[in-house]
Symmetry: C2
Subunit: 144 residues, 2 copies
DNA sequence: TTAAATTCGGATAGATTTGTCTTAAATAGA
DNA sequence: TCTATTTAAGACAAATCTATCCGAATTTAA
């Protein structure tokens, strides 16, 4: 469904959000240890999120990554997916046709848009904050 | 969502189904011309579908591919997806965790399974026959 | 029996995604 | 200022997915 990069991106963002809510900035090492992801590859994805102003990166000793506390309940999963995977999930025909729309649909079009719109709504309606609280209370996990 | 291979596989199967309903066996060339896909790669995918007994292949002059007429309304999209892409769409965590279930869920688990179950139901509830009729009546398309 | 048509199967090649390495840049603190 | 720490950025490498090529096998028909 999502690319590996996107999976790491969401998991990293959630951990950063959780720590940011506690006033803690986190290092790359802390992130990859927590979400169990490859260091250098994860770093690339964090750069992407930083360039898209979803997270803030700070160099130097005690540097690392954080998210503006006030923004955390305003950052939707869709923004992260968009930054990492682009809009390919939302757009495009289920059967790979270039032109496929209600006027000239592929055989799967009508059924496919229903499912995909649900996915879209889910991503657009879910904030980092909502998901981070589950982590904080120990109800959900980012590893294994 | 689906791999390229799976997209070609579904499109090919739909065309074969449509022609089989008209009593016509179709060649690889006819298929790739109709669905606008790369010949050799499509051949590989058709081999997969044949090995999974979704389609029947015949060698030699006037050979080609067909689907047992009686089976066409009994073959669900899920079978094709399964043959080509495996069960990765149905199983597996949205965030890529190896262990993720209701007992030890990732933060996205509950929302994700809702969407994915809809996809699963859609694929399991849609037969080649249903989709082929749209093609036959000119309401839907397999190209562009 | 021979030739032509067609799929099968393995090897190979190209493209994309995933992942690593190395050096540079920035920053904090001694 | 110097050093240690940390992220940034680009080059490179490995793995996977997509696609091609070619000879073998099968079948039909002349």
């Amino acid at each position: 469904m999502f690319s590996k990069a996107c999976e790491y991106g969401i998991r990293a963002a959630l951990f950063i959000a959780q720590e940011s809510l506690n006033g803690q900035r986190v290092s790359l090492k802390a992130i990859t240890a927590e979400i169990d992801s490859p260091d250098a590859f994860t770093a690339k994805i964090l750069q992407l999120l930083a360039r898209n102003e979803i997270i803030v990166s700070t160099k130097g000793p005690n540097g690392g990554f954080e998210i503006d506390k006030k923004k955390i309940d305003n950052i939707m999963l869709s923004e992260i997916v968009d930054a990492v995977d682009g809009d390919s999930i939302y757009k495009g025909c289920g059967l790979g046709l270039k032109e496929c729309n209600a006027d000239k649909p592929c055989p799967l079009h009508n059924r496919f848009v229903l499912v995909r719109n649900d996915l879209k709504k889910m991503l657009e309606g879910t904030s980092l904050f909502e998901l981070a609280t589950g982590l904080e209370t120990g109800l959900t996990f980012l590893k294994r």
